[in-house]
C-alpha cells in the first residue's frame, strides 16, 4: 500500500506562502482532477493554515517531486518558492499525520473544533469528484472516528484558551442564563469588542456602550448592535448591568468601590461581573471585596488562559498516545487488506489445494500413464484458473468501491486467508 502525504502548514510555512498555495473551494474540483490524472487516488486539504495532498501512488520514487511539480503548475508558483518548506510522509507516517490533523493536534490552537468539519468537507468534495477510492476512503473514515474518540476520551477541547472566551466562561459560572443579562462596555478597546462579540454569541442581547467621547460610543454601539449611553450616566447604567467590561485609556481608576456599592444596593445585591481589560487598570481591585461582586483583570484572565493551555497540552500528550495506537492498528489492517497481496494469497491457496487433491486422486486411481496424469493435472489447473481469472477482475473492481476494505475483508474470510 503506497500512501503519501505531501504538504506544508503553519508550522513550516509563512502565511504569505500559505496564502499563495491556498485553493478556494470552487477551484478544488479541477485541481483534484488534475492530480488524480497522475495517481490512482488523491485528495486535497486546503485551509488557511495548511495545504496538503494525500494520495495513493503507484510508485514512491520521485512521487513527491512530481506532486510538487503539479502544485507549482496548478497554482502557478515557482517550485523553489515552496519546495523547501514541504514535508513528506509515507505509509504509516502519512496515516498518523492525517489522524493528528483531524484530531486537531496539529492545529495552531490545539483542540480547536473547526478542522474536523473542514476535513469532512474536503472529503465530501473528493468523493463527489470520485478522486478517491477505498484506501483514502478508509483512511478518512478512520481519521474522523479517531478524532471523535480523542475528543471524547481526552479534555483536549475542554476549556477556554482565549481571554474573551475565558471571560464568557466565568460569566456563565456566575449567571445561569446569559440571555436575559445586560452587558456594559466602557471604552472602545479591541479586546472589549471581542469579549462583547463572544458574549453576544452566547446569548447576551442587551448591550450598553459608553465612552468619554460620545461620538466613539455611538460608533461602537452601531458596530456591535448596542445602545450608546452618556458617560455621565455611568452610575445609573451600572445598576442595570450584570456584566461590565472596561478598557479605557484612563491612567487612573474610573470605577471605585463606592460606585459598585451604590450600584449593588440599587440592584438589590444581584451579582455583578466586572472584567477589566485595560492597562493601566480601570477598576479599583477593592471592589472584588464586595459581596456578590466579582472582578477579573487582564492578568487574572491571562492566568486562567495559561492554565487551560497547559491542561490542553497535557491532554494532547494523551491524545498522541491514542493516535499512535490507532494509526499502527489501522496501518497493519490496511496493509493486509491490499488487493494485490490478497490475490496472490488466493492463488497460492488454490494452487496448494489443487496439488493436494491431484495427489489424492492419483493415489485412488492406481496406475495411469504419464499423459493421463498430465491431462488430469491440466484439467484441474484450467478449472481453477478459469474460475479465478474472472473473479480477479471482479475483485479489483470491488476493492475500488468506497467500502472496498470491508469487502476485501469478507473475501479473505471466505478463503480463510
Amino acid at each position: 500500500m503506497l500512501i503519501q502525504l505531501i504538504g506544508l502548514s503553519h508550522k513550516t510555512a509563512s502565511v504569505e506562502i500559505r496564502e499563495r498555495l491556498h485553493i478556494e473551494e470552487a477551484k478544488l474540483p479541477s485541481a483534484l482532477q488534475r492530480i488524480h490524472s497522475t495517481v490512482p487516488e488523491a485528495m486535497i486539504f486546503s485551509t488557511c493554515n495548511r495545504f496538503e495532498i494525500l494520495a495513493r501512488v503507484d510508485e514512491l520514487d520521485g512521487a513527491a517531486e512530481r506532486m510538487s511539480g503539479l502544485i507549482s503548475e496548478i497554482r502557478e508558483i515557482p517550485q523553489q518558492d515552496f519546495e523547501p518548506l514541504l514535508y513528506t510522509y509515507t505509509g504509516p507516517e502519512a496515516v498518523r499525520h492525517v489522524f493528528r490533523v483531524a484530531s486537531s493536534l496539529d492545529s495552531m490552537v490545539i483542540g480547536e473544533p473547526q478542522i474536523l468539519g473542514q476535513m469532512k468537507q474536503f472529503f465530501a468534495i473528493a468523493q463527489h469528484e470520485k478522486t478517491i477510492a477505498y484506501t483514502l476512503h478508509a483512511i478518512m473514515e478512520r481519521a474522523f472516528m479517531v478524532a471523535k474518540k480523542v475528543r471524547s476520551e481526552t479534555l483536549i477541547a475542554g476549556s477556554a484558551v482565549s481571554v474573551s472566551s475565558v471571560a464568557v466562561e466565568l460569566a456563565s459560572k456566575i449567571f445561569d442564563k446569559l440571555e436575559d443579562k445586560t452587558a456594559l462596555v466602557i471604552g472602545a478597546g479591541e479586546m472589549s469588542v471581542l469579549a462583547i462579540q463572544h458574549l453576544q454569541s452566547h446569548g447576551v442581547k442587551s448591550i450598553l456602550v459608553t465612552n468619554r467621547t460620545p461620538q466613539k460610543a455611538a460608533e461602537l454601539a452601531e458596530q456591535i448592535n448596542g445602545r450608546a449611553v452618556p458617560f455621565e450616566d455611568l452610575s445609573t447604567c451600572m445598576a442595570e448591568s450584570d456584566i461590565v467590561i472596561s478598557s479605557t485609556g484612563s491612567p487612573t481608576f474610573i470605577l471605585k468601590k463606592d460606585h459598585a456599592q451604590k450600584a449593588m444596593s440599587s440592584r438589590r445585591n444581584r451579582p455583578m461581573f466586572f472584567v477589566d481589560i485595560a492597562v493601566p487598570r480601570d477598576i479599583d481591585p477593592q471592589i472584588n471585596e464586595i459581596d456578590n461582586v466579582f472582578l477579573y483583570d487582564i492578568d487574572d484572565l491571562q492566568s486562567v488562559v495559561e492554565k487551560n493551555r497547559q491542561q490542553r497540552q497535557k491532554e494532547a500528550e494523551r491524545a498522541e498516545e491514542i493516535i499512535t495506537r490507532e494509526s499502527e492498528l489501522f496501518w497493519s489492517r490496511l496493509k493486509s487488506m491490499d488487493i494485490a497481496p490478497t490475490i496472490r494469497e488466493i492463488q497460492a491457496r488454490i494452487e496448494q489445494l489443487r496439488k493436494h487433491e491431484i495427489e489424492l486422486t492419483l493415489k485412488k486411481m492406481g496406475a495411469l500413464s504419464d499423459s493421463q496424469k498430465k491431462a488430469l493435472d491440466e484439467l484441474a489447473f484450467s478449472l481453477t484458473n478459469k474460475m479465478l481469472q474472472q473473479s480477479y477482475s471482479e475483485l479489483r473492481q470491488l476493492a475500488n468501491q468506497p467500502d472496498g476494505l470491508e469487502k476485501i475483508e469478507l473475501i479473505r474470510k471466505l478463503f480463510r486467508l
Binding site: 445561569d176 451579582p271 459581596d291 466579582f294 487574572d300
Partner: protein
C-alpha cells in the same frame, strides 16, 4: 418483599454512584447510565416505601430509620425534578447517604406490633409526611447553599480548579436554594400547625413545651428571619447561604438530636 426491594434499590444506587463518580472525575462520559440507574433506584426505593405503607397502614415513618429512609427518597426525588445539574454534582455524596438510610432501615425495622398510642390518630397522616417533605426541601436548600459557597470562593479567589467546572452557576444554585426554601418553609409551617391540631385532639392542648416543639419553633423562626431578610433587605449570596446552613443544622438537631438528648413524647 421489602427486603428484596431494599436490596435492589441499594444495588441500583451503588451502580449509579459508580457512574456518577466516573462522570465527576471526567474519566468517561457516563451521565446517561448514571441517571438511568438513579431513576431505576428511585422507582425501587419509592415502591419499597409504598409497600411498607400498605403493610403497616401508616406512612413509613414509624421510627427514626423509616423516617430517614423516606427523607432520602423525597430529597433525591425533588432534586431530580428540580435541577439535574445539581443532582449530578451532589449525587456522589447523596447516593451513599441514601444507601445508608436503606441499610439502617433494614437493620433497625420499626417494631410491627407495638404501635405507640400517639401514632394512632388520624392527623398523623398529614403531620408526618408534611414534616418529611419540608425537611427534604430544606435539605436541598442546604445542599445548594454549600454549592453556592464553594463556587463563590472559587470565583472570588480567582482559582479555577477542579470544582469550578463541576459546580452549578451561582445564579442556578441560588435560584434552587430560594425556591426550595420557600417550599420548605411553607410545608414546615403547615406541618407544625397540623402537629398542633393533632396534639390538641390527642392531649387536649396545642402546645406542650416539649423539647422537640421548642427546637422546631427555633428552626422555624430562623427560616422566617432568612426569608424575611431575602425579601425585604435583599439578603443574597453568602449571607443567605450561611443562614441556610445554620437552619439545616438546627433541623438535623431537631430531627435526630433532641430525641437522643432529651426525653420527649415524639418518638423521634
Amino acid at each position: 418483599m421489602n427486603q428484596l426491594l431494599d436490596g435492589l434499590a441499594i444495588l441500583l444506587y451503588c451502580v449509579s454512584t459508580f457512574y456518577f463518580t466516573l462522570q465527576f472525575l471526567k474519566k468517561a462520559n457516563t451521565r446517561k447510565p448514571a441517571f438511568l440507574f438513579l431513576g431505576l433506584g428511585l422507582v425501587t426505593h419509592g415502591l419499597d416505601l409504598l409497600v411498607l405503607t400498605f403493610e403497616q397502614h401508616r406512612f413509613p415513618a414509624l421510627n427514626f430509620t423509616q423516617a430517614f429512609c423516606s427523607l432520602t427518597f423525597a430529597t433525591l426525588f425533588l432534586l431530580l425534578v428540580l435541577r439535574r445539574k445539581i443532582m449530578e454534582t451532589s449525587a456522589i455524596v447523596l447516593l451513599p447517604i441514601a444507601v445508608l438510610s436503606i441499610v439502617l432501615q433494614l437493620l433497625y425495622p420499626a417494631p410491627a406490633e407495638k404501635l405507640e398510642p400517639v401514632l394512632k390518630a388520624g392527623w398523623i397522616y398529614i403531620h408526618i409526611p408534611l414534616m418529611i417533605l419540608s425537611m427534604a426541601c430544606l435539605t436541598i436548600t442546604f445542599i445548594t447553599a454549600i454549592m453556592y459557597l464553594l463556587q463563590e470562593r472559587q470565583l472570588k479567589s480567582k482559582k479555577t480548579s477542579f470544582l469550578l467546572e463541576r459546580l452549578p452557576s451561582l445564579e442556578a444554585a441560588e435560584e434552587i436554594s430560594y425556591k426550595s426554601l420557600w417550599f420548605g418553609f411553607f410545608l414546615l409551617t403547615l406541618g407544625m400547625v397540623t402537629g398542633m391540631i393533632w396534639s390538641k385532639y390527642l392531649r387536649g392542648k396545642y402546645w406542650s413545651w416539649d423539647y422537640k416543639e421548642i427546637w422546631a419553633l427555633v428552626t422555624w423562626a430562623l427560616y422566617a428571619i432568612l426569608l424575611h431578610g431575602r425579601m425585604l433587605s435583599a439578603w443574597r449570596g453568602r449571607k443567605a447561604a450561611y443562614l441556610a446552613i445554620v437552619g439545616f443544622v438546627l433541623i438535623l438537631f431537631t430531627f435526630a438530636g433532641v430525641s437522643l438528648i432529651f426525653k420527649v413524647y415524639h418518638s423521634f
